[in-house]
Subunit: 399 residues, 2 copies
């Protein structure tokens, strides 16, 4: 599909803005029967939906709940089942670690083991982040033959381990037995190429055990999601777009960088992001703009906060339109229904507005209303071609 | 896809009921412009649809009319184009024959040949089933070297032939020339592994011709759909569900058994099936419940009988809900429009109800109304992941 798009992409002077409202989709609150989007007052989104092509996007497959990685890869036009990115890589992107081609990254947990070496807490009682920072300092001085060892704290009990050097390819099993009362597992090479990496990781774990022996409850590590940077087709090449990402949170900057977008320096608020958008308007054809508050409220299970986050975004919408995009797409990377207090599998409202988007009966940007839209229920990775078409940036397929 | 589901499936205490209304979908009666579902009074289904996620499921591909085998495999989550089951196997399942791995099964017809050996009736005038039973007794005493020969009557001119023994693998051509005035064809091996099976089948046919010489109009056999039990991923393993099937008809019990569900003993009515459901409620996580009457009426071309069958099901629905499923899915294995008096290719209404199913604008369980639902038009094999998600039995894909 990306090869097809690449073969059809042409350039012009149009400007595209793709806004991802993180965790946009919701579910009705049982007391009212109305979702967050149906509860919020969203006059600007409603007006935009009325003049846009609307639909629902599904990021991975029906019933599958996307993580932020697959969710955004889908929005960027990459089928997340084809382009899989390991959790170690995503965790490194999430702290904006400068991961390089060939680096081997893993998610780490500090955990607690008893005198017999058996796990009693897979998260070491969720130690404070400050403790995590101190303990990673003990680990990052571990020396392994022929590779550089990097250990970076994330949050609470979580850290990232990165080995840098040659010959680290291959698939590895995890050390986390995913159960209490068992010992951490040695890493096994899942294909012949992974032999060297497996030996190095096992050496790291042995030394980590020694260095953490007196650090209970965080007296051991568990490692999962070993992976290297995937070799993804570059977004600017596939779409022939000068593409920029504006996101206050590191994970989303990392995902945009992964596909080759320029990541613009921006402040911590959405107002800062819009300032950045205006400042770089001339230099790019395509802007990915990320809004985080919706997801945060949903993850907290705070229905009212999510409603408020939506209303705050709605108030920003005129400012985005004033910048003058030829194509404006608004959607999300996954649902985060407040009643689930977690990511959800539900398809997410999407709209594509342009001079050429066509009319449909949808007059509100809600889950229910968008179900009747002209985009239908669309795999998320098919949205970018629709966006490109609306920018008149795709030529005809076949004569 | 099944590998993905398997990797994401988790267990909890939720209960799932999947009801298949056989041949559910219909077409408008020309006089009224309303389909069977639109004509029937279905207060309980309408109420359920109002609070459920609705859509249309398509079992194989647009325009393709599914048989009961592919139709149900789709509902169980198996792409019927990937997991194909031969007609010989389906015919054996349909009479609840205890088919074992390695058995070679074929559909048989008694047919009529003239003095020159040319076919004059491919169905032997649809002989009564009693005649079929007597003639299969002549055939089942045929002896072939190194294999057991089993011949079982089905209905009218139809029977099942099963060879049991080793080395029966491989693909075989059919003996039915699908035309009158031609002689039955010898079986050919379509790959080298099938040589032994081809020789045995041809020997069986030669002997059958001798034993039936005086039995006109049923004086010869035609054999089709040679196949062995497919090695399907087991439903309980893929979904991590203790799964039970409740079906009064042998074909559906056979299909459920094929994917590894426990087939519960039940009576001949839907009321019996619901009693079985209640009795086994604690022992299983997932129940496949089959309702046959809708298909039977559709096959008979009896619009009013299909309406009545739908209304009878509607009256049972409160009893199903009272058992207390956390997820209730209602759909069908294919359409059987009364105006076709046969299976149809039309997509079939589907609903998934749970605490987390979300809202859509659909307030009636009809072909027309469900087209606007939030499930969209869904390949049938994607329904089970949605059902699993609603049971909170699938973890997130990617971080």
């Amino acid at each position: 599909m990306l090869d097809l798009i690449r073969s059809l992409a042409v350039t012009n002077t149009s400007k595209i803005v793709l806004v991802s409202l993180d965790g946009l989709g919701g579910l009705p609150r049982p007391e009212t029967g109305r979702s967050e989007l149906e509860t919020a007052r969203l006059p600007n989104l409603s007006a935009l939906a009325t003049s846009a092509a609307c639909g629902l996007v599904r990021h991975v497959a029906p019933g599958i709940t996307p993580g932020s990685g697959p969710g955004h890869l889908g929005l960027f036009g990459y089928d997340p089942l084809v382009y899989q990115v390991g959790r170690g890589v995503l965790e490194a992107l999430g702290i904006e670690f400068d991961l390089r081609a060939g680096d081997l990254a893993a998610r780490g947990n500090f955990c607690t083991i008893d005198g017999g070496g058996l796990i009693t807490d897979r998260r070491a009682g969720r130690i404070p982040t400050e403790v995590c920072v101190r303990l990673t300092e003990r680990l990052r001085t571990i020396r392994l033959p022929g590779v550089e060892v990097m250990v970076e704290p994330v949050k609470e009990h979580r850290f990232v381990l990165v080995l840098r050097g040659s010959g680290l390819a291959g698939r590895l099993s995890e050390t986390d037995p995913q159960a209490l009362g068992k010992a951490p597992l040695p890493v096994r090479a899942l294909d012949p190429a992974a032999g060297r990496a497996a030996a190095l990781i096992n050496a790291f774990v042995d030394e980590a055990r020694r260095r953490l022996a007196d650090a209970a409850p965080a007296n051991m590590v568990l490692l999962r999601g070993f992976d290297q940077l995937p070799d993804l087709p570059r977004f600017p090449d596939v779409y022939a777009l000068r593409a920029a990402a504006i996101a206050a949170y590191p994970m989303y900057r990392g995902l945009a960088k992964l596909v080759g977008m320029d990541v613009l320096k921006t402040g911590g608020t959405f107002a800062d992001e819009l300032t950045t958008l205006r400042e770089h308007w001339q230099a790019y054809d395509f802007f990915f703009v990320h809004y985080k508050d919706t997801d945060k409220a949903g993850e907290d299970g705070d229905f009212d906060a999510k409603v408020a986050a939506l209303e705050r975004f709605d108030a920003f919408l005129p400012a985005i339109r004033e910048v003058g995009p030829d194509v404006l797409a608004v959607t999300g990377d996954h649902a985060t229904p407040s009643v689930l207090a977690a990511h959800g599998w539900q398809p997410v409202p999407a709209l594509v507005w342009s001079r050429y988007c066509g009319a449909d009966p949808v007059t509100a940007f809600t889950e229910r209303a968008c179900a009747a839209g002209s985009l239908g229920v669309l795999p998320a990775h098919h949205l970018m071609p629709v966006v490109m078409a609306n920018a008149l940036r795709l030529t005809k397929f076949g004569a």
